[in-house]
């Protein structure tokens, strides 16, 4: 049976891995190529590689970093950040990405999802949504979580999947950086609305949070985190052993 995936996320700015709390106060952490290679060796099932400032500042990804990463590691690689056009898809796929994640680019131009799915296949298109509760309503934010779009999140995500997105990364701004566990309520709502894989993001602080995630919400396919892996607070190999001991099917 298919295994639950553990996915470290490398937020990249100026060729370096960064991670902030609630998307603010970014601090330089590590070299993306070395970190990617380390994670692959430790048993990461996939890597997500975001240029987190690209959508705000209109920058493209640093494709040389991407190429170096993709020639060193041989696990699935998802790339996001600054993906606004089919040319952006093409650019990162040629550098070794397997999946391309769209966020602000799809909010500006929803047709991008359908066009990319038609050209590269549904499996290649990931909708990444930054979602925050506003007056008790799940609301989509754009530009790295800085801009309230006013759109209701579940409807937006469902629409993206209908247009051809093959996977969803749900990042809860409410729990991101808080390290008190994933946003189970928000994830449950998304899992019940779509039939494609859902990746949980935002809020993992310790290994137990992943156990709770997969035991409480069996429909969630993967757990994604950044700083707890980068700072060594959670070791991926140990996490996967712990998950297996708790009855979660993982690749060891």
């Amino acid at each position: 049976m298919i295994t639950k995936r553990i996915i470290p996320c490398l937020d990249v700015r100026n060729g370096r891995v960064v991670k902030g709390t609630n998307f603010e106060n970014l601090g330089d952490v590590n070299d993306p190529v070395a970190l990617a290679s380390y994670y692959s060796g430790a048993g990461a099932d996939e890597l997500v590689f975001y240029d987190i400032t690209a959508s705000a500042e209109g920058r493209g990804l640093f494709t040389d970093i991407l190429k170096k990463t993709a020639s060193t590691i041989f696990i699935p690689l998802t790339v996001g950040g600054g993906i606004n056009t089919l040319e952006d898809f093409d650019r990162v796929l040629k550098c070794g990405a397997d999946k391309v994640s769209v966020n602000s680019g799809a909010i500006r131009n929803p047709d991008l999802i359908g066009q990319a799915a038609k050209k590269y296949g549904d499996q290649c298109v990931v909708i990444s949504a930054d979602v925050k509760r506003v007056d008790g309503r799940f609301t989509v934010f754009a530009k790295g979580g800085r801009e309230n779009t006013g759109m209701e999140a579940i409807g937006w995500i469902k629409r993206c999947v209908d247009m051809g997105a093959g996977e969803v990364v749900l990042n809860s701004i409410d729990t991101d950086g808080v390290k008190n566990g994933f946003d189970l309520e928000m994830l449950d709502a998304v899992c019940n609305a779509v039939s494609v894989p859902v990746i949980a993001s935002g809020g993992a602080g310790r290994a137990e949070d992943f156990i709770t995630l997969f035991q409480t919400l069996p429909k969630v396919d993967a757990g994604l985190a950044a700083s707890i892996f980068h700072f060594g607070e959670v070791n991926i190999a140990e996490l996967k052993r712990l998950l297996a001991q708790n009855g979660v099917n993982v690749r060891l």
């Binding site: 041989f74 070794g96 397997d98 549904d122 894989p197």
Partner: protein, 205 residues
């Protein structure tokens, strides 16, 4: 030297890089002369069957591959590349395959329980059939090792050509072999060390 067939379908960057990582010589090519000179051939592929089969035919590479297989040269089809080895595909209409391995490509939908997501995407364990010797491409790995899958259709009615299954609500064909023709539904170039070991074993055939 391994010839990785470039016919305008899918992403060859990782495949080429993975050969570099195992220290094997590989070239991405659509040139029949280079393919004829190679020691072994990889047929990659991602996307829709009909489109890929047409591109392969339009480039005249279907007959090149068939002729090369007749000489005994090892051929490995990966993902859609494996599916093209079969006799036919039922992906959005009926389409002819290369007919190098028995079987046909059919949708998973209706075969696996409705609660399971399609595509079958992620890492799944290899199960070896008990009634046949282990395929040479698995000589460096173990049963139960996980490899990376992304597919919505699979090879059915492959008979004793099946060299491994993956369990996803049903036993799905994970790999096939007919003499010197090999196919993996999964992506060895995305399956970490296990995948690299499978590619290494293929380069030693």
């Amino acid at each position: 030297m391994t010839a990785i067939i470039d016919y305008g379908v899918g992403n060859l960057f990782s495949l080429k890089s993975s050969f570099a990582a195992i220290g094997a010589d590989a070239v991405v090519t659509s040139d029949p002369a280079v393919i004829n000179d190679s020691d072994r051939i990889i047929l990659p592929g991602v996307g829709a069957f009909a489109d890929a089969a047409k591109k392969l035919r339009d480039a005249g590479l279907d007959s090149v591959l068939k002729a090369q297989v007749k000489t005994g040269k090892p051929l490995l089809g990966i993902c859609l590349g494996m599916q093209m080895l079969f006799e036919k595909s039922c992906e959005y209409g009926e389409h002819d395959g290369l007919g190098l391995v028995q079987g046909s490509v059919v949708p998973m939908q209706g075969v696996i329980p409705a609660a399971l997501k399609i595509p079958h995407i992620g890492w799944n364990a290899l199960i070896f059939p008990a009634d046949r010797p282990r395929s040479e491409i698995y000589k460096y790995i173990n049963e139960g090792d996980c490899v990376y899958f992304v597919h919505s259709f699979y090879g059915a009615d492959c008979g004793d050509a099946v060299t491994a299954y993956a369990e996803y609500g049903a036993l799905l064909t994970a790999s096939v072999q007919n003499g010197n023709v090999y196919g993996t539904q999964f992506h060895p170039e995305k399956s970490g060390d296990v995948g690299l070991k499978i590619l290494k074993a293929f380069t030693e055939i």
